[in-house]
């Protein structure tokens, strides 16, 4: 059902990270959709149907947990890849039923490895 034209939705409140992740993914040929927090992410879901969501956890307005809870409540099933600087990255990813996590600071190879493994 996933096809290459579906974008990857990236949600992070840090604009630098957001643009860097976008640059990397676009350079590798993935279309991207960006959101600065969970609420914007939900709004983006009205426009696009992403193949994957890269999700920061600690964000203003609507955090990662609430974003995931809303998805669940709406019956939307999407693979989530948690991006966080917290030491509890693995537990947090489990908590929201994410498909995987990458701990900040991550580099280009880690990011692409994680994304590719989830899209494979």
């Amino acid at each position: 059902m996933a096809d290459a034209t579906q974008p990857i939705l990236v949600i992070d409140d840090d604009p630098a990270i957001l643009s860097t992740v976008a640059d990397i993914l676009e350079f590798e040929g993935y279309p991207v959709e960006l959101a600065a927090n969970g609420a914007e992410g939900l709004a983006a879901l009205d426009r696009v149907q992403p193949r994957l969501v890269l999700l920061d956890m600690r964000m203003p307005v609507l955090n990662g947990w609430d974003f995931a809870r809303t998805l669940h409540a709406r019956g939307i099933i999407l693979p989530l890849l948690v991006m966080t600087a917290a030491a509890d990255a693995r537990r947090w990813a489990q908590e929201i039923g994410a498909a995987g996590y990458i701990a900040k600071p991550f580099g280009l190879p880690e990011l692409l490895t994680a994304v590719e493994s989830l899209l494979r």
Partner: protein
């Protein structure tokens, strides 16, 4: 039997009972106060028996009757003297009053023998003056003492004062009998009743039976015990001590109490007396120190005799007798509780038990206080830890976020430059950026890990880990022509560990081995399981560590003296973190080295604890 006779027999019976009680007490504890009480009651009992017998016509002929009358008068005159002596037993009487009372008695006794049997009026008046004035003196002295004293002693002194009052009343009524002889029977009944009342009052005042004594101690004791639960929460130990001292003193009915706290380091008992702390070697204090050293309550009726050295301190408060009991919580010696009184008769035999009870209560209060203080310290420590954690967490987030960009963006630049070589780009510069960014990342992560190691929070969720697999992964990554990395493992070595940290541990050790083997040389990693422990060693053939430095290699920020800083960068945190990882897994890490030949790190990790075993099957 007439009412007069009934009163007579009743008072005989009561007086004889009291007399018997007093004599028994005197025989059991032959002290001056008990002797004085015995003499007082001997006199009064004899008077009552003789005069009563005379009235009931139980006595033979006139000659004997005269002798008995003389005896009665002599006994009557002796009563004020015994009372003044008793005043001195409970408080202090100026010496001249004592002399006056004794001298007066002697003069009157000689006079009554020398003068004709029918005594002249002036002599009778003189005798009456002597009687009344010393009775008043005793009565007032007891009232004064009752005001000064507290608790049971106050009540005893009140009873004694009341006894003196009844005695004065008795003489007053007898005077009325002389003035209005028509109502002789009424006056006689009054005299008998007042005499009986004074006898009972003196008895319960001077030698209260255990039952009355306990009842009189109860209100203060109850008040103290009901306050006891609140005492540990007073603002400082000082106030607690003062409250306990006050409670102990009033419960025993003594003017002062003081608690000496044991200072184990200095080997002294510290008392706070009149605003200044005095430290005493327990061996120098026969009663307080003795009670503390022998761990049992002790009593002394005269501290001046026992301890002349400290007599001045005790004497300054007009106290002479003291009771002391050890304040001990279980095996822990906290100090000693000492209660002071002006005179020994203030105390009774049973007070040794009471003082021990109060000392035990004091121990409970002090221990509760210690627990409260400890809890406050723990809370303060937790607060500091929480602040550190907050800082760590904030620092982690704030440092990692820009690092992510730095690392990822430079890597992207590098990748672009590699893929599009024609595009204008400074590849060398970019590669330097990548390298430095990575270095910065490593350092920040090391710093954060070191902070976490310090707090014992390095190890996260555990799962089953095969050390052989981890070591092989590490070795493969670091294997090179220059530094071949070899793993020797007879079989799997599975344990319950934090996989990320175990990988970090092996990476660190192997990386170190490579780093400090500048001339090449094999890295050998051995892994085996033995007796519930997984062992692994990382051996290199590098520059080694001088023997003097071996003990410090696991310290924070330690850098080897034989290490070229420019060639081997780092903050000296790697081995500190390694040690944290190992120890927080319940394991041990050690190192041996021969400079110029190589270094071997040995790690032993428990296979896994039962408690954590539950996590083995958990989600991961």
């Amino acid at each position: 039997m007439s009412a007069d006779e009934l009163i007579q027999y009743l008072s005989w019976a009561i007086y004889l009972l009291i007399f018997a009680g007093v004599v028994v007490k005197l025989i059991r504890r032959p002290r001056r106060a008990n002797l004085d009480i015995g003499l007082l009651f001997s006199a009064t009992t004899l008077i009552i028996v003789v005069s009563g017998a005379g009235r009931l016509h139980l006595l033979p002929g006139d000659a004997l009757g005269d002798l008995l009358t003389d005896l009665t008068i002599a006994l009557l005159l002796s009563i004020p003297y015994w009372l003044v002596r008793l005043v001195d037993d409970f408080t202090s009487v100026p010496p001249w009053v004592m002399w006056l009372a004794g001298g007066g008695l002697l003069a009157l006794a000689i006079g009554s023998l020398a003068l004709p049997p029918t005594l002249p009026g002036w002599f009778a008046n003189l005798a009456l003056l002597y009687l009344i004035s010393f009775l008043f003196y005793a009565g007032i002295a007891f009232v004064r003492e009752s005001r000064r004293a507290s608790g049971v002693t106050r009540r005893r002194m009140r009873a004694a004062a009341l006894g003196s009052g009844f005695l004065v009343l008795e003489f007053g009524v007898s005077g009325l009998g002389q003035a209005f002889p028509a109502l002789a029977a009424l006056w006689q009944a009054g005299i008998d009743l007042a005499g009986l009342a004074s006898g009972i009052c003196y008895f319960i005042g001077f030698a209260p039976p255990g039952l009355i004594r306990r009842a009189w101690q109860e209100p203060e004791l109850r008040a103290f015990l009901s306050r006891a639960a609140a005492l540990p929460r007073l603002p400082d130990t000082e106030s607690i001590l003062r409250e306990m001292e006050h409670g102990a003193a009033t419960s025993v009915g003594a003017p002062y109490a003081s608690i000496g706290l044991w200072d184990e380091a200095a080997g002294v008992l510290r008392f706070l007396i009149d605003g200044q702390t005095l430290a005493f070697d327990p061996a120098a204090l026969p009663i307080s120190g003795g009670a503390f050293l022998r761990q049992r309550p002790l009593f002394s009726d005269d501290i001046r005799r026992l301890n002349p050295a400290n007599a001045a301190i005790v004497e300054a408060r007009g106290t002479r007798a003291l009771l002391a009991a050890p304040v001990t919580a279980g095996e822990k010696r906290l100090g000693v509780l000492t209660v002071y009184a002006s005179r020994a008769p203030i105390f009774a035999e049973e007070d040794l038990d009471l003082i021990q009870l109060l000392a035990d209560q004091a121990a409970v209060i002090l221990e509760s206080r210690a627990l409260i203080d400890e809890a406050a310290r723990v809370r303060a420590r937790e607060e500091v830890t929480r602040l550190k954690e907050d800082f760590l967490s904030a620092a982690a987030h704030d440092l990692k976020t820009p690092l992510t960009t730095l690392v990822a963006q430079t890597q992207l630049l590098e990748r672009r430059a590699l893929r599009q070589p024609d595009a204008p780009a400074d590849l060398a510069g970019i590669q330097k950026l990548v390298k430095e960014a990575n270095r910065l990342k490593t350092l920040v992560l090391e710093l954060l890990d070191a902070a976490r190691a310090e707090q014992g929070r390095l190890v996260g969720d555990r799962q089953r880990v095969d050390l052989v697999a981890v070591v092989e992964e590490t070795c493969t990554r670091h294997n090179s022509e220059r530094h071949p990395c070899r793993v020797e493992a007879p079989g799997p070595a599975v344990g319950t560990y934090d996989p990320a940290r175990i990988l970090q541990l092996t990476e660190n050790l192997v990386e170190n081995a490579v780093k400090y083997s500048p001339d090449g040389g094999e890295i050998c990693v051995r892994v085996w399981q033995e007796d519930g422990w997984n062992h692994f060693t990382v051996a290199d053939q590098g520059i080694g560590i001088p023997a003097a430095e071996l003990p410090q290699v696991f310290n924070r920020f330690h850098r080897g003296a034989n290490v070229d800083d420019r060639r081997f960068s780092g903050m000296g945190l790697g081995l500190f973190i390694c040690q944290g990882i190992v120890e927080q897994h319940g394991g041990r890490i050690s190192v041996s080295s021969t400079p110029g030949q190589g270094t071997t790190f040995r790690v032993a990790l428990p296979v896994g604890r039962g408690a954590d075993g539950a996590q083995e099957g958990g989600p991961s």
